[in-house]
């Protein structure tokens, strides 16, 4: 396998507030390879979005980020702010969940694309216009030349997300961080946007980190999946293997709580309880209080993420006892 393009080493994001310190991202280690689509899944509040924002250093005070974000040989966390601005939007781009608010309502779409082009490329004048048209065409917006002068409110939700993608891709980034890009869209548009992202990934040779809580989206798009819980990565596996046999009790719980289209009907199993308070994590496995497999060992010590095969990592003591049906196999 080739060298990873992005390496997160012990990434830790803590929000210091009056009510205590909340560790939103707790020692995340992760590698991303060129041309790969990595899914980052987990419940709301598990630290997926904060992880993405930490990579680009978008976390505002009182949040602090420590550890290492190694991007093409440089640690992004130690770059100066002007150097960081050259990385943002040029080498690494990001798209958001809410296409309704992610575009500036008072500027025409074309102007918003042009602004990025002026900032990050050497293009000027006519060639900026040409490139903007090209980008809108690339993301599948019909009659792009006419749409350049349109304002965001004249675009539908799906088209805004396309426009957002066009802006994010304006300077040919090597990595696209997609923060739940399809959550706010209806299902048919979701599918179009995901296909678009995959197609663009191939044509432009990007890597993508796709944050989502929709396992269907993961199955459809991602090559590898990292599962987050309470700010940590609890399992990393190729998507196919993960869906075939989860190796973390939490992943199993997630899979059991999703209805499978076409499969035999069975009751949906919810994961009981709620995610833990990030300011007061239990000493053992953070999932232990909600887990059906919990033993004394789980509560006593916190399992770390360890390799169980060439391609898989898990932080579950009972990883070999899990079966697809959610029954304990002992």
């Amino acid at each position: 396998m080739s060298e990873p393009i992005l390496v997160l080493k012990d990434l830790r994001t803590v929000f210091h507030t009056a009510r205590g310190s909340f560790t939103a991202v707790d020692g995340v280690n992760l590698e991303l390879f060129p041309g790969e689509v990595l899914g980052l899944v987990g419940e709301s509040g598990s630290g997926k979005s904060v992880t993405l924002r930490s990579i680009l250093r978008l976390v505002r005070p009182p949040g602090t980020v420590s550890g290492e974000v190694r991007w093409q040989g440089r640690n992004l966390l130690t770059l100066s702010e002007p150097q960081m601005r050259k990385v943002r939007g040029r080498e690494i781009s990001m798209i958001f969940q809410e296409p309704m608010t992610a575009l500036n309502p008072v500027l025409p779409i074309g102007e918003q694309i042009a602004e990025t082009l002026r900032e990050h490329t050497d293009l000027s004048g006519k060639s900026i216009q040409a490139r903007a048209v090209e980008l809108l065409e690339l993301v599948g917006i019909p009659s792009p030349r006419e749409r350049l002068r349109d304002y965001p409110h004249q675009f539908s939700g799906g088209m805004r997300q396309r426009a957002m993608i066009a802006i994010a891709l304006a300077s040919n980034p090597k990595l696209l961080l997609a923060d739940e890009p399809t959550t706010a869209l209806d299902v048919t548009i979701q599918d179009q946007i995901l296909k678009l992202l995959l197609r663009l990934k191939d044509t432009l040779g990007m890597s993508v980190i796709l944050v989502t809580h929709d396992l269907g989206v993961v199955a459809q798009t991602c090559e590898r999946v990292a599962v987050m819980y309470a700010g940590r990565i609890v399992e990393v596996a190729p998507a196919i293997e993960l869906f075939a046999q989860p190796r973390h009790a939490y992943t199993l719980g997630l899979l059991n709580s999703v209805p499978g289209a076409g499969s035999t009907r069975r009751p949906l199993l919810q994961i009981p309880g709620a995610p833990p308070d990030l300011a007061a994590l239990p000493p053992g496995c953070p999932f232990a209080p909600r887990c059906a497999f919990t033993t004394a060992e789980c509560v006593a010590t916190r399992p770390s993420l360890t390799a169980i095969s060439n391609t898989r990592l898990t932080a579950c003591i009972h990883q070999d006892k899990l079966t697809k049906t959610g029954e304990v196999a002992w």
Binding site: P61, R85, R88, G89, F96, L103, V106, E115, H120, A168
Partner: protein, 282 residues
């Protein structure tokens, strides 16, 4: 047989109809601005020319608004007063608008200590009644227009600062602000190019109202002898001039008073219309 499809030409992109209030406001303020710019063309007499042959005359064709106790033509004085009062409207609000917008945007965006400091200044200023504070400052600096501008500006920017701060705080949460950072834009570009145009509408609308308040304030201070000094034609001064003759020559105070009222209404209509025009479309 199917009838051939009739191709209906698409109506031209519907232009937004201007609201009547905006048009009315523009007309009223437009007239006052014309008076302010070309008083010589509009006023039949000099505002300070005495005419002892025509003292305290009621409105006639010759003297549209009558004459005062020195025989000065009240209509001419109201027209010349427009020049000064439009100037007052602008100068008592322009600096507060600009400075308050700047400070409000910065504190709203950066927050933390700048915001805390701004909050304390606001707390201090709002404790005092506006007029009392302005009069106190003018009393220290001495009466006159320039000192009045200084006094009003020193206090008035606070309101704009608060408006902008609140609105920028609000806009900052929208993802396009975050998107700007993701795109590697500088903070100043995000604040002034992206957030400010989205946040400034309430301040512009308030500015219009504030101009009306500025005229009232200028007139009040003129009336009290702290603003424009007689024999300058200023609406507040004109009202003060006529107050001793209210029972016998009502026109001396009434017409400048109507001018103040009309200007106030004009600015309010303008603000109302602008609020509608600048409202973000969804």
């Amino acid at each position: 047989m199917a009838t051939p499809a009739v191709i209906v030409p698409k109506p031209k992109a519907a232009r937004r109809r201007l609201k009547p209030s905006l048009v009315a406001g523009m007309v009223i303020i437009g007239i006052f601005v014309l008076m302010a710019l070309f008083p010589k063309l509009i006023a039949p007499y000099s505002p300070t020319a005495f005419d002892y042959q025509a003292i305290l005359q009621g409105p006639t064709a010759k003297h549209l608004f009558g004459t005062d106790n020195f025989g000065r033509d009240v209509f001419s004085r109201v027209v010349w007063g427009a020049q000064l009062d439009m100037q007052i409207a602008l100068f008592t609000t322009l600096f507060p608008f600009l400075f308050g917008t700047l400070i409000g945007s910065l504190t709203g965006y950066y927050g933390r200590w700048a915001d805390a400091l701004f909050g304390r200044i606001v707390d201090i200023v709002v404790t005092f009644p506006f007029l009392v504070l302005v009069i106190a400052i003018v009393a220290v600096l001495g009466p006159g227009l320039k000192n009045m501008y200084i006094a009003v500006s020193a206090v008035g920017w606070i309101t704009y600062g608060r408006l902008l701060r609140a609105e920028v705080l609000n806009q900052k949460k929208a993802e396009y602000a975050l998107a700007g950072r993701v795109m590697g834009y500088t903070s100043s570009r995000i604040i002034f190019r992206h957030l400010l145009p989205n946040a400034i509408t309430p301040a512009i609308v308030y500015w219009m109202t504030d101009m009306a308040l500025g005229i009232l304030l200028g007139s009040s201070l003129g009336y009290l002898g702290l603003g424009a000094q007689p024999p300058t034609a200023e609406w507040g001064v004109l009202i003060a001039d006529g107050k001793n003759f209210l029972a016998t020559a009502w026109w001396i105070s009434t017409f400048p008073g109507l001018a103040i009222t009309l200007a106030g209404v004009g600015f309010s209509l303008l603000g109302d219309g602008l609020a509608d025009l600048l409202r973000p479309r969804e």
